[in-house]
Amino acid sequence: MNLRALVVDDEPLARQRIRHLLRRATDVEVIQECANGLEAVKGIEELSPDLVFLDIQMPELDGFGVVEAVGADRMPPTLFVTAYDQHALRAFEVHALDYLLKPYSVERFHQALTRARRWCVPQQEEKAPNLEALIDGLRQERPWVDRLLVRQGDRHILVRTAAIQWIEAEDNYVRLHVEGTSHLLRQTMTGVLARLDPAQFRRIHRSAIVNLDCIKEFQPWSGGDHLVIMRDGTKLTLSRTFREQFGEWL
């Protein structure tokens, strides 16, 4: 069986090295190379490769960001490649993941590849590593993200969390209001709140989270509620239930 592989690295030479080494492995075919995280998410979703060589340090959306954006459960078997990141290496050790450390030898590469092949063959003794546990573990250490990946039609857009003015609940989605436009994200309010820095984002209502930097004023409203007026004029409600978080101000 031929394995269709995706190679993700922001450095052309690093991709070239993997491609070069894969020439010897006749059962693996590189179907696409991606130079950044966004391309990788797109590539994984569109091509459903059997195996992904994934660099960790990439600008904007890094390797872990790619796994999160695709969804750890939907991620194909992945071989992480990294130059140096003590943080990530510790996580790999904890979750007994195989990874490639740059620069790696030919032997080491083929050893890792042999192992990865076993993940890709169904009904084998070895299962692909549990990425969900890895991502959860990493998230506990660096819980807040600087960017969120949103889908718009067939495109992916990275939204800086600092640019989000407020977030509105919409059925099974949340709507991110960003400088005049808005994006839908398949996420729950609690889920998205957990990813945002609590020093900047607070929940004010069952269906609203605000960026504190974008609040202009608070006005007392009926029944213990408050009216929150945003810099762009949007009026939101701070319900009694969530008022205590603003205890220091109200």
Binding site: H20, A35, L38, A83, Y84, P103, D146
Partner: protein, 361 residues
């Protein structure tokens, strides 16, 4: 006990001024007296007080008042007694001087009887003022002592801060380098197959880069020439790593090459420009490095044509550059970030040249 270095010019100057001041006072009281006589008398009297004040200073230097807590009462009492004694003695001598001056004016010899007759009245009139002077001497001593102590502490704190920043800076560079180093080695392992000459070039550039990093102590001023050589090595490696994506333009007039700047200050700024300027741009971009001289300062500009700096959180690299500049030049430098969405980021760094910075010693 730390020794308080005295400022004798000030000490005697103030006593002399007091003498002049009292002369004007006496002139108001005895307008018919000779100005010269009054001046000589007052200067002599203040001179005596100055000499006696030295006793108080000597005592204060040996047994300074460390605190006003009750349990320190022996020290205060000692100073109180000493100042009373010194004031009394000083007044006695001063009275003798004034009698001497008067007797020379009246052309009759000064006698012991004259001293005994006028002394009690003189004490009643001047003792309290004189005691205040002596307290002022003791207070001034302690004031100076506290000020010096505070200054010493401040200097020590600044030194500690500089040390800390140095250590931190070194640690940061060490953190940054492995990543860069291993990625570069990985690129070389790709190049040896596809482009042996490129691999060769990269190895020698990497060698130069590492040599410079290992050689130079942090926080020492280097010439722009040296800093630029380092940046060129760094950029050459990055250019090979990112292949055609990175264009570099360096426009630096040769006459600026000997100007001084803190070593390794440019690299984090250039790295920042590469990181934020070329992220998510498969087509790559251009990095420009320019220098000029403006009002004596060295002005450096690093420009990328990337997505544009968005004000907000600055990275660790930039914060480190700021703190180093702050310690070295105490606010005489400027680091400005100008960005426009989609039109790149311009970093302007201004390094003063005229005086040596605080950290250079």
């Amino acid at each position: 006990m730390e020794h308080v270095r005295p400022r004798w010019g000030w000490y005697w100057g103030i006593w002399a001024l007091m003498g002049l001041y009292m002369t004007t006072w006496d002139l108001a009281l005895y307008p018919s007296s000779s100005v010269l006589r009054l001046l000589v008398m007052n200067l002599a009297q203040n001179g005596v007080w100055g000499v006696l004040g030295l006793c108080l200073l000597g005592l204060a230097n040996r047994r300074p008042i460390e605190s006003f807590a009750w349990r320190h009462w022996p020290v205060w009492s000692l100073h109180l007694l000493a100042s009373v004694a010194v004031a009394a003695l000083g007044l006695f001598v001063a009275y003798c001087i004034s009698l001497l001056v008067q007797s020379s004016e009246w052309k009759e010899p000064m006698t012991w009887a004259m001293v005994r007759k006028g002394l009690p009245r003189f004490y009643r009139a001047y003792f309290h003022t004189n005691l205040l002077f002596m307290w002022a001497v003791v207070a001034a001593f302690h004031g100076l002592r506290i000020y010096r102590k505070y200054k010493t502490r401040e200097v020590e704190a600044a030194r500690l801060e500089a040390r800390f920043a140095e250590a931190q800076n070194l640690a940061l560079r060490m953190q940054l380098q492995p990543h860069f180093l291993f990625n570069t080695l990985n690129s070389i392992s790709a190049l040896v197959h596809s482009n042996p000459d490129g691999a060769d070039e990269m190895i020698s550039r990497l060698g130069d880069f590492l040599r410079t990093t290992l050689d130079a102590p942090p926080d020492q001023l280097v010439s722009l020439r040296r800093e630029l050589a380092f940046i060129r090595d760094y950029l050459a490696i990055e250019q090979i790593r990112f292949q055609d994506r990175l264009q570099v333009e360096i426009q630096i007039p040769t006459e600026l090459m000997e100007l001084r700047l803190p070593g390794f200050i440019l690299q984090p700024l250039v790295e920042n420009a590469l990181k934020h300027g070329f992220a998510d741009r498969p087509e790559g971009g251009t990095l420009s490095l320019r220098a000029r001289r403006e009002a004596g300062d060295l002005v450096l500009e690093i420009q990328d044509d990337g997505e544009g700096f968005v004000p907000g959180r600055e990275g660790v690299g930039l914060a480190n550059v700021r703190s180093r500049l702050g310690l070295l030049y105490k606010g005489r430098t400027q680091l400005e970030l100008l960005g426009a969405p989609g039109r790149g980021t311009l970093v302007v760094l201004r390094i003063p040249q005229e005086a040596s910075p605080a950290g250079e010693a």
